[in-house]
């Protein structure tokens, strides 16, 4: 899929998603329900700020010593029998995967939900060489079946689809004949995916975290596909963003505890699978081969720059569930793989300002995301800094914005200009509602500018007082 998920421009994406009433109601419902559950869950746990401190400290510590912990993880994983590979970018990552598939003469693969494999466009690359790769997270499977639709949330990917659409797709593409209830449709998909797990040549997983001390891959799922992926097929390929490491199991405790609570508001996920190397010599099941592909793909640039804190992200999706802008435009409004405040703070760093500068505009800088991020990423400050870079350093804001704001700066910085401009400001009451003003006034009233300026009124009042 890659980072870019839509070819539409910002205005068209926003317009399209604002008119999707089911998606908007669904996102609003998800935000209200999950945010309430999350708040309750943390209230019950207590000391939210201290838990956040710990999670932030762990992630920051790992980033400060990422070279050391990746070395340690690699040594431990190899000692446990895993093959560890390194990919500097998406191209190398898919090439490594293709090579393993060809060596295994594999034709069929099953896969867990994984943002990093979406980021590198793995599915498309494997399909090009004739590999059938099946998503096994229910939401991702439904998206794949529906003409490779894009996820609208990083934890609940099919949030924008209603049950009727899902039934229609299952009937057309998989021969489903049952009713429209989520229970019946889930049961039907269980049968299809059970067969796929048992017959797949290769399994592909992401990696929530990786334990440096033991070389362990940690996967968190509720459906159990993480256990199937790591339990049944004979070859397992795990893709891992290079910043996913934790020092030991003890730090993993904090991050797992926060991830479950922040992502869906529960004390824990149903399954936490910890995989250390391939199956043991005497084991009857489990993968015979484990390949771990560690991916940079722009992360080292982020690590070196002023947005390093964004790499603390544990992909819980909380920031988007708290975001008022996300509530209205949904994940698809952003047109990129990582939506919401996370996307606005991260995507330009990973994939460049030229193509993705508009993602930073979908934010009102309200700061709700900062207050809930379990690893205390300064999302708002990052987004604001991106906007500054776009306007001042890169000069990518566009000629109209450049002209308007440079004139504004000139006026506001000179008392004579300011005095004249403020006297003429009331003429704006009669300005035609065209261009940006037309867009702006669609949803709000333009405040009426009074005929008399405050400073004139105040000076007059003082004169009157002096005269009386």
């Amino acid at each position: 899929m890659g980072i870019k998920t839509s070819s539409l421009g910002l205005k068209h994406r926003i317009k399209k998603n604002l008119s999707d009433s089911f998606m908007r109601a669904s996102i609003a419902n998800a935000q209200d329900r999950i945010n309430r559950k999350r708040a309750d869950c943390y209230a019950e746990l207590g000391h939210f700020e201290k838990w956040r401190d710990l999670a932030m400290d762990i992630r920051s510590h790992v980033l400060d010593y990422l070279d050391y912990y990746l070395e340690q993880f690699t040594d431990s994983a190899q000692k446990a029998g895993a093959a560890v590979h390194f990919a500097k970018d998406d191209r190398e990552a898919v090439e490594l995967a293709k090579t393993i598939f060809l060596q295994k003469k594999a034709k069929k693969a099953v896969k867990t939900k994984s943002m990093v494999t979406e980021e590198i466009g793995l599915n498309e690359a494997l399909e090009e060489i004739g590999i059938e790769i099946l998503e096994t997270d229910l939401g991702e499977y439904l998206l794949q079946l529906d003409g490779k639709d894009k996820p609208s949330h990083i934890v609940i990917p099919a949030l924008h689809k209603d049950r009727r659409r899902i039934r229609e797709v299952l009937a057309q593409k998989a021969g489903y004949k049952g009713d429209v209830t989520p229970e019946a449709m889930t049961r039907f998909v269980r049968g299809i995916l059970r067969d796929a797990f048992l017959s797949a040549d290769v399994a592909v997983s992401g990696c929530n975290f990786a334990v440096a001390e033991t070389g362990t891959i940690a996967l968190m799922t509720n459906e159990g596909n993480g256990r199937f992926i790591t339990g049944i097929p004979k070859t397992l390929i795990t893709f891992m963003g290079m910043e996913r490491v934790v020092p030991t199991f003890e730090e993993l405790d904090i991050l797992f505890s926060m991830l479950a609570r922040s992502s869906v508001g529960v004390r824990t996920s149903v399954y936490m699978s910890l995989i250390t190397g391939p199956r043991g010599k005497a084991d009857l099941d489990g993968p015979e081969e484990l390949h771990i592909i560690i991916i940079d793909n722009g992360r080292s640039n982020v690590l070196a720059g002023s947005f390093k804190d964004v790499l603390r992200c544990i992909r819980c999706g909380t920031c988007m569930l708290e975001c008022p802008a996300y509530r209205h435009v949904g994940g698809h409004g952003y047109g990129v793989l990582y939506p919401g405040p996370l996307g606005a703070a991260l995507v330009t760093e990973l994939a460049g300002y030229e193509e993705h500068k508009d993602v930073t505009e979908i934010c009102s800088l309200c700061g709700a995301c900062n207050d809930v991020c379990p690893v205390k990423i300064p999302l708002v400050e990052s987004i604001l800094e991106h906007r500054r870079i776009i306007a001042e350093d890169k000069r990518l804001a566009g000629w109209m914005k450049d002209a308007v704001y440079s004139q504004y700066g000139r006026v506001i910085g000179n008392s004579a200009y300011y005095a004249s401009a403020s006297r003429l400001a009331r003429l704006a009451n009669h300005a035609p509602r065209i261009g940006p003003l037309k867009e702006w006034t669609k949803a709000r009233e333009l405040p009426k500018i009074p005929a008399e300026r405050f400073r004139d009124w105040f000076a007059g009042r003082k004169r009157k007082e002096a005269g009386s």
């Binding site: 000391h47 500097k88 489990g286």
Partner: protein, 228 residues
């Protein structure tokens, strides 16, 4: 292709150094909120909390003693759908000869007690019930810690529609903090597959409606054994 040295070198450069530090300062814990959860709770308190939260997440609970464990397991199995039973090759279940105790009326097989690899997995796939013993259990989240190895394959607790976990009360600890510390203490002998499991397989992917039994077991039973 990028080598390990090149890959790590780029990261070192991003961090402003030429060489990887030999031994960085260990992580500094500035709070102890995680170790304070349920701190000082008695064994009985932890067992109560485990049982209560198990019920809250849709797990069927039985309470037993060592003497009555086989009878309790039999009762728990009878409440599951009919069909074959796969039993972990575990020291406790072997000592009690649980497999023989279950044999009346059902096909029962002990994992890795003979037959080919495929026949073991095939049996687990057709089994209605899997039975295993928890390595540890977490009171806060009603979680069982499972070690998968040659005596208890991953298939035993994954493929059957129902799964029964025997939970010795002495193995119940407060939360994930103690579970992870246990794994760290045993890091040299950890099996390839370790799982923390809390209740039945679940999803809310369609309109956020909770549904159980997506991939893994739809029905989960915890048998808490008070005197073990």
């Amino acid at each position: 292709m990028t080598t390990r040295e090149q890959f790590i070198g780029v990261i070192g450069k991003a961090l402003g150094r030429a060489d990887t530090p030999a031994n960085p300062a260990p992580f500094h814990w500035r709070h102890s909120v995680h170790t304070n959860v349920m701190s000082g709770w008695s064994r009985d308190d932890l067992a109560r909390a485990f049982i209560e939260y198990s019920k809250a997440i849709g797990v069927r609970v039985f309470e037993s003693t060592g003497d009555t464990l086989n009878a309790t397991i039999r009762k728990a199995v009878e409440e599951c759908v009919s069909g074959p039973v796969i039993v972990a090759n575990d020291a406790l279940l072997k000592e009690l000869d649980t497999a023989t105790a279950l044999e009346a009326g059902r096909a029962v097989r002990v994992w890795n007690s003979g037959g080919s690899v495929e026949s073991n997995v095939r049996f687990a796939e057709k089994a209605a019930v899997g039975i295993a013993v928890a390595e540890k259990a977490l009171a806060e989240s009603a979680t069982v810690l499972l070690f998968s190895h040659n005596g208890c394959g991953r298939s035993v607790t994954l493929l059957p529609e129902s799964v029964i976990y025997v939970v010795p009360e002495s193995r119940i600890c407060p939360r994930l903090t103690q579970g992870m510390a246990y794994l760290r203490r045993n890091k040299e002998t950890l099996p390839s597959s370790v799982n923390f499991v809390s209740g039945p397989s679940a999803t809310s992917d369609i309109e956020l409606v909770p549904v159980v039994g997506v991939h893994g077991p739809s029905h989960v039973t915890h048998i808490v054994v008070h005197d073990i």
